[in-house]
Amino acid sequence: MGFIMSDIAIEVSNLSKRYRIGLREEIHDTFIGSITSWLRSPVSNYKRVHNLSSFSDNGEPDDIIWALKEISFDVNYGEVLGIIGKNGAGKSTLLKILCRIAEPTSGRAVVNGRVSSLLEVGTGFHSELTGRENVYLNGAILGMTKKEMDQKFDEIVDFSGIEKFIDTPVKRYSSGMGVRLAFAVAAHLEPEILLIDEVLAVGDFEFRKKCLGKMQDVASEGRTVLFVSHNMSAVTDLCNRVILLHRGKIDEIGPTEEMIKKYIWGDRKELMGKGEKTWVKPSKTNWPKGVIPGKELAHLRAVRVLNEAGELCTKFTVRDNIYLEMECEIFRDANYMDIGFNILNDRGLLVFVMGDNSRDSDNRRGRSGLFRFTGKIPGDLLNDGLYFVWASLTEDNHIVHIRERDAVSFFVEDSMDPEGARGYYIRRKWPESAVRPKIEWKNSLI
């Protein structure tokens, strides 16, 4: 092959991948219909199974999916490139093609250097074999030679922290131990180019941290890493540059922070800067199903985010009070109703729930009519960031009448106000904790 000099580790040009998903099965409602279809089934089954791999005939275009469509990008040497995107955006397909597991439909990719891929940890682990036997097997599957493994074996076992059980069959391990051992093998690969898919989503917190540290080492040693993940904090920690995929195409390539913001916010674009969502009752008596959230007990009419003055608002500081309002039409009496909001942050974490704790029974249950419910989130509670609000109404603790996800959203900004939770911690970014309550603190000299 010779020694050609190049800056580019991976060069992808116009890569596409087409899949055929299975055709929908016919459903027969007559006996004769099912008998004839059963008799014909070998032929139609053959067509269905055969078509999974053939595209030449005039099959229905409905069942063809372009998992990737004309993707082009370069990865430089020593770069850690992240790939993010929603489920089905084509992240895993792209990685599978670069790992040579799947073949592209068209286009090409050139990979310069020794590649290792890690689509999962513990590929080929056999539960009946001992830890030692599995280390060798897994290492071979990942492309290490026996000689390399002989050299690294002690180091691998040491890293996994399960020396005592190395000659025990893996099936006697706890799942955490299996993962530790598997990751230890993977961590000792020494490729020039490493392709990784979401493998950090396993194991306990301590071990994950250890793995992340190891990955950072790999990255800082100047090796090239391509990293597919849903874990935005891992992407932030590791990657210099990120590809944002959307439905098989590259949405944008750019700096990590920017792409992550675009990914998270672009997801729910229709909500941006909008603190209100309303539903109008149509004039006809029979409403089209699904247009208005809610079942027979109640219908949701509006959800709003308001400021202290009662105006619609989507931008607050960490010190402001925030009011959430819901308008509901309740049609009949009920024994007991729970009305409230779920507050989620931009990482999808449920920060807290809020509901009617007013004991104001007259306006809460029993009555039908058009109601307005308002809850106040006190200032000095939320951290800065983007929040999403779900509205819900349940009857008798378990019958869900309304559950409107992401009904509204709002931003909370850091005011840098020393009167808030910050105190005199004013120079740096506040940690990414779920909340930022202002707590009472007392200092006394004793």
Partner: protein
């Protein structure tokens, strides 16, 4: 970010392939350690947590021998070229048991190996070839009993024993040829593994396992043997008997014709497998 130009140790071009693919022997050799560990895994894993362990490798052919001796040797009075029926059938059951097990396991290999080949790249040909090699361990163990039986009946092996490696290679080629064909089909059409058990039963009665080749020659004459030789296991099994028991000369015509078929099956199987391998992940 850019660390400057670097010498490239290897370059890989990924693009769609079509049509017939040649076998990349160099790559297969590069992955020999993986091949070795997969074979080892097969051998080690199969008898873990069994009480009998490797004794199972003996139990299967021995019990078949007992059943066949009672039914065909005792009740049917099947001719056996003047050899005691138990040893007559056992000498055939050793290669046959190997062949059936290797062929079946090889056919299923892609389906059982799905968890591996959908997650990491290596030459896929290794998958159907692994059981063909790992089943040789059982085959070797089964030999122990044969030598015991031969001592018991006072039969000493002939000089033709030196030809056994040829016969072993022949049966390996046949098993892997069929295995490559059927495993590539089975990953897309799951009817194949359903049928392969049945197929191996049919093939056993088609091979001279429970009956001697001389029966065929008496009925249809010598030339029929040549056509029959197309079936490689005929030559393998009769060859095993001749080499071990020495009652007949080595059936070289059968072995010669069978070798050609075995080679043909192996080569065509490898090409078929290679031409299909790019869709394995998509249909698995």
């Amino acid at each position: 970010m850019s660390s400057g130009s670097k010498p490239i140790s290897q370059t890989l071009v990924i693009k769609p392939k079509s049509g017939w693919q040649v076998i990349d022997w160099k790559e297969l050799i590069e992955y020999r350690d993986l091949f070795y560990f997969l074979i080892k895994r097969d051998v080690l894993a199969i008898y873990k947590q069994t009480v009998m362990g490797f004794t199972w490798a003996i139990i299967r052919p021995v019990f078949s021998m007992i059943v066949f001796s009672v039914i065909f040797g005792g009740l049917v009075k099947m001719p056996s070229d003047g050899i005691p029926y138990p040893i007559f059938s056992y000498a055939a059951l050793i290669p046959w048991t190997y062949f059936a097990a290797a062929m079946t396991a090889s056919t299923q290999s892609l389906i059982t190996g799905k968890g591996i080949f959908t997650k990491v790249y290596f030459p896929r040909l290794i998958i159907p070839l692994t059981p063909v090699l790992s089943k040789l361990v059982d085959f070797a163990i089964a030999f122990v009993i044969l030598f015991g039986l031969m001592a018991w009946y006072g039969i000493s092996p002939t000089i033709n024993l030196i030809f056994l490696p040829i016969l072993i290679l022949m049966m390996m080629l046949t098993a892997s040829g069929i295995g490559m064909w059927l495993s590539a089909m089975a990953i897309q059409y799951r009817d194949i593994p359903q049928g392969v058990g049945f197929l191996s039963q049919l093939l056993m009665y088609a091979a001279p396992v429970v009956w001697p080749l001389s029966l065929l020659q008496e009925r249809f004459g010598e030339s029929a043997t040549l056509i029959y030789g197309i079936y490689p296991m005929a030559g393998v099994i009769e060859g095993f008997r001749s080499a071990l028991l020495g009652h007949n000369p080595m059936p070289w015509e059968l072995i010669g014709i069978g070798t050609i078929t075995a080679l043909f099956m192996f080569i065509s199987g490898a090409f078929y497998f290679k031409s299909k391998e790019r869709i394995f992940v998509d249909v698995a």
